[in-house]
Symmetry: C2
Subunit: 319 residues, 2 copies
């Protein structure tokens, strides 16, 4: 193997365009030295992606790099945090220069776009795994938690649901220019909803990002808040490509239980409905009301004919 | 597999004895919410351990848990930071309850001892890897860096060197009660040098922890500082068990190039020699002067007869 860990870092990871003033010392010492502004809380989130589990073993390294950072930044968005820094831990079977170069390009294309500086990490030989940790800040006490939903609160989601899951459906037409390309891009390059997340400070009563599927993630809000929810299935926002690719019933199923969309699901008191509407306008992001929080525990998915939809297995279990 | 990720976290990782006041929200949301005291810098460090690379595939999970946290905390110690929080990312081939229980016991035995709270992480199915990130703080601008060594500064190391490497020597007597047990414990349960690290704020001109071997790690200080060094090999501190296990020449070799001791190597101006001596006394930690920083680049290892020792391959290359 030609490259040392040091050379890999120098060549591929020392090159982000971002050099933030709150970073005293980035890559290259025993640790990074950074500064959280007085009066702000620090938000920390971390996720691991494993080849063959979280992405196909033959995925493009550029997409892997983008996605590894995106899914982590989505957690910051769900807490209303402004992103600042990231660390990257890579284990690689071999130090392939084309792979590293493409991976770094994908990673930094997102990092640079959202002014996130890579401040450290670790690279070692092993099976292909990527662990990213991200750091952001919110004014003290203003982080959006899962636990604040109250009976009567409205339930909202950003954007559209089910696209990323649709990209994994079998037998889709994958010719260039088709709707399949649109939904595949949603799977490969999810865009964290920061602007909305920051705008929800003081507006939302709870928030989560939709990584495991709406049924699972809204379930986390309900459980953490000690409440239940009633959701109108027909109100779930579906993209036009999704509507054209799949039958309505299947599209709803994916919108409900498919993961990987990285939209936000949040609740807000009824009196904040206008604030939510104006945030949708100012952030240029669709925000759709899909239901209401109820004191009765459990999630109730209401079909257009008034019947209850039974959901067998919400979300994704890692073991 | 019987346990979900959620159940694993609940059963094994929600149980640290430490509940710090600067943690607003720990495990269980999209991210952790923590607070850095006004006027302090945040120090972040992260390291990954892979089965079969950084520890034997048949290592005791209790030792793996301890060591995964220890090697990370050692980086904080080398920067003069007081440790506060940790995150833990685990990939596991299977959710074995005895393994998880023993791993958590090892991890928390150290975390609790140094008042570090586990605030989040990720658990997923995959090859056995452990990635720990640690967080600590120093008064603004007081972090110990690698880059501050100046010609004329004295070079010091804490404790003794070579024990951890000696534990990996072939053909040692491994009967209970032997010296081998003592050095093996150094390998399995390295103890981060926090008290010394914190005491070195304002005293040391540079510092690093010895993870890859003194020759490699002192080389990092020299390179980052743009200086060289002259080291008296005979002054390298060796433990009594090491002296009894190995010939003097081999013991020196291990003290020089063996990794995993997690002692500190630091430099300080000559005028601070008394401060260093009094820190050794107050922290109850041996601190030995081993050489001096010189303006001429490169490391010069001086043998007792005045000859120069040539070192072929300092430290450990990961690729």
């Amino acid at each position: 193997m030609a490259l040392s860990e040091f050379e890999i870092i120098q060549r591929f990871f020392h090159r982000g365009a971002i050099s933030r003033q709150d970073v005293t010392l980035g890559i290259g010492d025993d640790g990074a030295v950074v500064r959280v502004a007085d009066g702000y809380d620090l938000i920390i989130s971390t996720d691991m992606l494993i080849s063959g589990v979280h992405f196909p073993a033959d995925a493009e390294p550029n997409d892997i790099g983008f996605r590894a950072l995106a899914v982590n930044l989505s957690d910051l968005a769900a807490m209303g945090a402004e992103p600042a820094w990231a660390t990257l831990v890579l284990s690689l079977p071999e130090a392939s220069e084309p792979w590293l170069s493409a991976f770094a390009r994908g990673f930094f294309s997102l990092a640079d776009a959202v002014s996130v500086q890579l401040i450290g990490g670790d690279i070692t030989r092993g099976p292909l795994t990527i662990t990213v940790s991200v750091y952001g800040s919110v004014p003290r006490g203003e982080a959006l938690l899962r636990s604040g939903a109250r009976a009567g609160d409205r339930i909202f989601v950003t954007g559209t649901l089910g696209d990323a899951a649709a990209a994994l459906e079998p037998d889709l037409n994958t010719a260039p220019g088709t709707h399949t390309q649109v939904v595949t891009r949603r799977l490969l390059h999810p865009m964290p909803r920061f602007i909305v997340g920051i705008g929800l400070r003081g507006v939302a009563s709870s928030a989560i990002d939709i990584s495991d599927g709406l049924a699972s993630d809204l379930g986390h809000i309900a459980e953490a808040s000690g409440v239940g929810a009633r959701i109108e299935v027909a109100s779930l926002p579906l993209s036009e490509p999704l509507g054209r690719l799949l039958m309505r019933q299947r599209a709803w199923e994916l919108a409900l239980s498919g993961g990987d969309d990285y939209e936000l699901c949040f609740t807000a008191p009824a009196r904040h409905e206008e604030l939510v509407a104006s945030l949708a306008h100012s952030s240029d992001c669709a925000i759709t009301q899909i239901g209401v929080i109820e004191s009765e525990l459990g999630l109730r998915w209401i079909m257009p004919d008034g019947s209850l939809l039974a959901i067998a297995r919400p979300g994704y279990r890692h073991f």
